[in-house]
Amino acid sequence: MSDTNTIIASSEGRKRRSWTFTIGAIIVGLHLAIGLMTLVWTPYDPAALSGGRLEAVSFLHLAGTDRLGRDLFSLIMTGSRIALTVGTGAIVIGGLIGMTIGLLAAFASKTLDDVLAAGLDILIAFPTLLLAMLIVAASDGASLQTAIVAIGVANSAIVARLTRILTKRVLAMDYITASRISGTSWIGVIRIHILPNIWPTLLVNLALQFGLAVIAEASLSYLGLGAPPPNASWGRLLQEAQATVYTAPIGAIAPGIALVSLVIGINLLADGLRDLADPTRRSRR
């Protein structure tokens, strides 16, 4: 009886998760499509003055205009591209650095492992945004690239710590010993056993980090440390709309919705991804 209940409950759980995956994929897909579209077409040139100052929402300007008279909808569309670019870049950098350090720590001697683990803990205790600000300040000046590198490096500590823990857990398993006994080299063990086993958890974490990277980029841009003009980052749009938030609230609401919808979409996608990558959670065939 209780078995039947568990099976029903878990199949409902799977259904719910695949549902979240679909919604997440649709939202992220929409942002991706819009981002790609801005490469060839936007309703107006996002940098040009296409209307009066602070125009209200109309069919001509779907999200009104900003205080200079630029079309906000076109700016927000371009913002999708920037958010996705920074998110992807940060995840690639954070993932590569983080996984390398994490694997290194898991295989290192006890002393080196302790040093690396302590270093990671300190990095993680350091606020991501503050770290990113430091990196931006230390480089030649704010640009899209510095934002990507800064957020990526800040993310890498979290990825490294997770990789280290997951790898150590897999290394303690009998099948690693069995594989070693049958003559697999350490490189082979990493390729055949460790990466496939840590990948599902790591993938979900990377997806969540993607969402955090999008928020971090908006925060950096809001502070003026992100992509400089004419890049229309959502964070900068929010900052520019701040002065006129009572007279033209749409200027803050529209980029806000764009930012929140992308982050929620990514989180839903992350939730659903885990089940696709892990066969033990997939329905039995």
Partner: protein, 269 residues
């Protein structure tokens, strides 16, 4: 005949604590030896030391020669070719002995491929699959087509252990180390796995190092016994001799316990 596995004066320590002290025994090709003792007596550590896979925190001293090569103090890289060809291991817990994220067929296939690469044999997909199927047949797994495409969590504990044995066999080892291979299984499955191991060892003319805490289980599977307690060898001898005339008090208590269990069965009948 030179012994396949020759352990002489092996000691294993962690920090100040001695886990295995001055252990010596040897194993000839084709011989079946049982290593018996209670939990924590150092049986499994001895097996790991035999193939040079002790955790870094443990220090081994003495001499372990596997297939004529010194294992203790050897570099890991030098041991890789020795492993698998000289010895393979079947573990106690079949669930953790298989990678949960790899289908059984591929898992056995990896071991087959490694051995084929070493022998410079064919490593194309078709011949690997053929060999995997033959191995699954040999360990008497039913419905090999289904098992090849099954994930480890989709088959039973006994079937998992058979798959693990197939992986060990794929290496074509001269010595099979079975580390409590039946402890996690129910009694009927246990008997089947024991019969399977006995058949495979004689068919393939492998040596067997059988590790267990269960005297009756070991007695049926091996010719000679080494009894360990607290990291020391307390008694060695042929199975019949040890059973009929146990010298050491620990062995006597093991035999008495086994007899008491038999008697209880007879009374129950």
């Amino acid at each position: 005949m030179t012994p396949l596995l020759d352990i002489h004066g092996l000691s294993i320590r962690t920090g100040e604590k001695s886990l295995v002290t001055d252990l010596s025994f040897s194993l000839s090709p084709g011989e079946r030896l049982g290593l018996i003792g209670e939990s924590g007596s150092g049986k499994s550590l001895t097996a790991l030391a035999a193939i040079g896979l002790l955790p870094d925190a443990l220090k081994a001293s003495g001499s372990v020669r596997l297939d004529g090569r010194q294992v203790i103090g050897a570099r890991d890289r030098d041991l890789v070719p020795l492993r698998g060809t000289a010895a393979a291991v079947v573990f106690q817990e079949p669930l953790t002995a298989l990678d949960p994220l790899m289908k059984i067929g591929r898992q056995v296939g990896e071991a087959v491929k490694r051995r084929a690469t070493r022998d410079r044999g064919a490593t194309d997909k078709a011949s690997i699959t053929r060999k995997v199927r033959a191995l699954l047949d040999q360990v008497a797994l039913p419905d090999p087509d289904r098992i090849i495409n099954a994930w480890p969590h989709e088959i039973s504990g006994g079937q998992r252990q058979r798959a693990a044995i197939a992986m060990a066999l794929a290496c074509k080892p001269k010595l099979l180390i079975a580390d409590e291979p039946t402890t996690a299984l129910d009694v009927t499955t246990q008997a089947e796995i024991l019969a399977l191991l006995a058949r495979l060892v004689s068919e393939r003319d492998m040596a067997l190092l059988f590790i267990s805490h269960d005297l009756p289980v070991v007695a049926g599977a091996v010719d000679r016994l080494v009894v360990m307690q607290h990291g020391h060898i307390v008694e060695t001898g042929l199975v019949g001799d040890v059973f009929n005339q146990p010298n050491h008090p620990y062995t006597q208590s093991l035999v008495a316990a086994a007899r008491a269990f038999d008697d209880a069965l007879e009374i129950a009948e």
